[in-house]
């Protein structure tokens, strides 16, 4: 029968189709079960997105406690302006026109180049001010996009610029406190992991980590005092016209830096002012032969180690010319005969100092090391020089007469401040530091920097006190720095007029044509002192690098500014005058 044949063939066809379906089940098994992990991973990569969210970088404040700290560095909201030229259609030229007119930092040519580069999205300008952004938004230009970012902002412009440093365009610290404390200041990045549609519609959040704001740094520097110092340095630059100058003020009792300024300087808000000669922190990296300011240190060592010598001990000063070790040593422009110990300090006699220092010949190196020379101060502000202090085995006979007067030894200004701090603090040397506390806004807790004693007894308190007495005479009548005297206060201080070393000149073969020598015309002139002498509020060091010849003496170019800064600072700190009667002020 035909019907049965039909039925048989229908069954055959059915079996054939069923086999096909079963083969497909096998195929699905391969795709869905065997390749599940691989394909699932690849699919997830497609529809999950991770966006970063950034917290705010920590602020930097000064050390003022009352009424509240002054803000020195902060971050403010800005926008990165991006453009998609493909979405602008025929208005592209108009957009270029309008944007280049509004944005000062971006000119028309750059915009045209970027807009016609063929990229889908180009940067118009990063870190655009919100006010400007709202003005651009009002123009309703097509194809623009704004991404929130933040820009570092320094409310006091150039104030304390060398200490604060600056940040890179990406917002991480590039120099100064910004760099050294970058880890603390840096916010912790948060993220959001979510599933999205192809056109970036958010579907579900999978995981979220909120960003954490960076920690705030509170410096020991006091903004009002820093302003005083910077104003005076500006005046110094204008009146004396040296190549550079700097001033460092520290509290000898705690080691806290109160002010730190340098000229030339820069404005961290304006990248155009950032030239290497402006932003190099010279107080950290410059080394120079300090000259006479070293005498107080070496003679303090003499008082400490040679018990036969006191403030009144006389020393014969050879009429201004003394041969020792085959080389002459002069007292610049003076022919002293007999000077007492304190007069050697007051008049800054080279011969007297050298002869006194020779009495403790073998202890000189120890004294200098103990006062912290040849070693970094550890102020923690980035790269720091340790100066040059040769070990004693390299010293020549001449060295014993030259190092005590500050030649043949190179120091950084910070080392000098640290050493005088020890003298001022009765022989106890404190660790210099810049950061008062680090405030963590998330835990609402502060980590304080406690003053650290670096050396309990550099010299004995008695020797220190004697040296202070000698240093007091420097600003008095007959001293080298009468202009540094502060009315109403006893000042202990010392001038420094150091000849600069002119480096050796070599020819093409490396042969020395001209040996290194001390220049007669180029100086580093300085004054360092502390006020009030017996219970000092601060040590202040004012340094002039390469002043004009007529200002070459430290007593002439640095001392007056020491006085002006001290006067204002004492008045700001409300320090009681130590000399009550009017007569003795003269």
């Amino acid at each position: 029968m035909l019907r049965t044949a039909y039925q048989t063939r229908i069954v055959f066809l059915g079996i054939f189709l069923a086999t096909g379906f079963i083969l497909l089940v096998g195929r699905l098994r391969v795709v869905q079960i065997e390749r599940h992990h691989e394909l699932n991973k690849k699919a997830k990569a497609k529809y999950t997105s991770r966006v970063k969210s950034v917290g705010i970088r920590g602020n930097i404040y000064d050390g003022t406690r009352i009424p509240s700290p002054n803000l020195l560095a902060s971050s403010k909201v800005a926008y990165n302006l991006l453009a998609e030229p493909g979405k602008m259609g025929s208005r592209r030229e108009e957009v270029i026109q309008k944007l280049s007119r509004l944005l000062a930092e971006t000119d028309k040519k750059t915009l045209e180049r970027r807009f016609y580069s063929g990229s889908q999205e180009v940067v118009v300008q990063n870190n655009v001010d919100p006010i400007l952004v709202s003005r651009i938004q009002q123009m309703k230009l097509p194809g623009l996009r704004y991404v929130e970012s933040s820009v570092r902002f320094y409310p006091k412009d150039s104030l304390l610029c060398h200490v604060l440093g600056y940040t890179t365009h990406e917002g991480s610290g590039a120099s100064g406190v910004e760099r050294v404390y970058d880890k603390n200041l840096q916010p912790q990045e948060g993220y959001l992991l979510y599933e999205r549609s192809r056109r970036a519609h958010k579907v579900t959040n999978l995981d979220e980590q909120k960003p954490l704001d960076g920690k705030d740094i509170h410096l020991t520097v006091l903004e009002p005092i820093q302003s005083i110092v910077e104003d005076e340095l500006d005046r110094l630059m204008k009146e004396v016209k040296p190549k550079a100058c700097y001033a460092i003020m520290a509290n000898p009792k705690t080691g806290a830096i109160m002010a730190l300024a340098q000229r030339p300087h820069f404005n961290p808000n304006d990248r155009n002012t950032m030239k290497p000669q402006n932003y190099n922190p010279r107080f950290l990296v410059d080394v120079y032969d300090p000259g006479s300011t070293m005498k107080a240190i070496s003679l303090a060592g003499v008082l400490e180690h040679n018990k036969n010598i006191g403030l009144g001990t006389p020393v014969y000063c050879e009429n201004g010319m003394w041969y020792y070790g085959g080389r002459p040593l002069r007292d610049a422009g003076h022919n002293y005969k007999n000077l007492r110990f304190w007069e050697v300090i007051q008049k800054s006699s080279n011969i007297g100092t050298a002869k006194l220092a020779l009495t403790i010949k073998r202890r000189q190196y120890d004294v200098l090391r103990k006062f912290g020379f040849g070693e970094r101060t550890g102020i923690n502000l980035g790269v720091e020089s340790k100066g040059i202090l040769w070990p004693e085995k390299y010293w020549s006979k001449l060295s014993y007469t030259r190092l005590p007067i500050g030649q043949g030894i190179s120091v950084t200004p910070l080392q000098m401040v640290q050493a005088y701090g020890a003298l001022a603090n009765k022989g106890r040397m404190m660790q210099l530091h810049l950061v008062d506390k680090i405030y963590d806004p998330i835990l609402d807790k502060s980590k304080y920097t406690h003053p650290i004693v670096k050396n309990m007894e550099v010299i004995s308190p008695e020797a220190a006190a004697e040296m202070v007495e000698a240093l007091k005479t420097v600003t008095k009548k007959g001293g080298t720095a009468t202009q540094a005297a502060v009315p109403g206060y006893e000042v202990a201080g010392k001038t420094g007029t150091a000849q600069k070393v002119i480096p050796a000149v070599k020819d093409a073969n490396g042969k020395v044509i001209q040996k290194a020598y001390y220049s007669d015309t180029v100086h580093v002139s300085s004054f360092i002192g502390f006020v009030p002498a017996d219970d000092p509020e601060f040590v202040l060091y004012v340094v002039c690098d390469e002043p004009p010849y007529k200002f070459r003496y430290g007593g002439k170019c640095a001392a007056p500014y020491f006085k002006r800064i001290s006067e204002q600072t004492l008045s700001f700190l409300n320090v009681q005058p130590t000399i009550k009667d009017k007569v003795s002020r003269k």
Binding site: L2, R3, A5, Y6, Q7, R9, I10, V11, F12, L13, G14, L17, A18, G20, F21, L23, L24, V25, R27, L28, R29, V31, Q32, I33, R35, H36, E38, L39, N40, K42, A43, K44, K46, Y47, E195, R196, S197, R198, R199, H201, V203
Partner: protein, 364 residues
Amino acid sequence: MLYSTSGMDWRPGGAPTIDNTSLIKQLTFIAIGGVVAVFLHYFDYRTLCKMSKYFMIIIGVMLLYLALANLLKKNLPFVRSIKGAYRWIRLGSLSIQPSEFAKIAIILFMADYYHRFNRHSGNFLRGFVYPSLPIAGIGILIIAGGSLSVTMITGALVVGLLFVCGVRMRYLAAVGALGVGLFALVAQISPERMRRITSFMDPEAVAQGEGYQLWNSLLALGSGGPYGRGFTESRMKLEYLPEAHNDFILSIVGEELGFLGLCVVIVLYLAFLYGSFKIAAEATDYRGMIVATGLGLGICLHGMVNIGVISGAFPTTGVTAPFLSYGGSSMLSALISVGIIMSVARESERAKLEGMEEFEETKY
């Protein structure tokens, strides 16, 4: 009843891009299709078979019109190009895809022909060439309309039916050889097209080009795993997988309901196959046998090719999943098929009830 329920499998959660209007549209089609199916259920399929040559002519005219539009590459009245293809005739808001209905017409035509001439089925001319000519004509028109895959499925369907009708295997083998030969010819003439056809073997390599749909489909299936991500939890449907509600709806089913879900779909298709073939075997005449076999075969072939396409077993082509994909014509033709098969079943039921269990041999 199994057939009607399988139509409910269309899932509203197909994709968020389909808003409610398309869901309502699809439900409207289901309703219309349902009414048509019920009507056909009570309508005598034998009458339909007798009318089949008119259907063939109507479909032929429509296809000719579309083929014309395709050749001229121009929008003629009632014809709009959709994604570069001219497959739809628009009547107001309705659009009809004649190639979907061509299959039904062909099946009815074949049923009518072989019912009347089944004694000649072993004959080369009368059993093979004569009936094949109008069918081949329709096939050529579908190809001219730019729908190669539908033609191929229709061809396979016809070959299957010819086999059931008892046409000699060597003729069928010749048709198969012809198909293979044509394929080889195409491969020879245009290696570019060949490369496109064979790109399905490694879709990841061309994931940004021809393999885009298939690769996303595999990602959807693969991330579904054995049990799926859960109903409406698909991610690949979020604009990643194009046509997620249409030709690739089963990829999303696989992602949401997993391997298990797709197995259920396959079981449902197999059940449909079993049901329709059982009705065919119990039909009271050759017409019923051929009609039920052809319609069941048509639907299952479509389903099979669709699953093959989404899983990368076959080259990527636009074939809908019957009862599941979005698309009025597809749904309507599937429900019409159901209706006609039910009509065949109703006839044999009635014969059984009335005690007329005898098979109605063709009277000459």
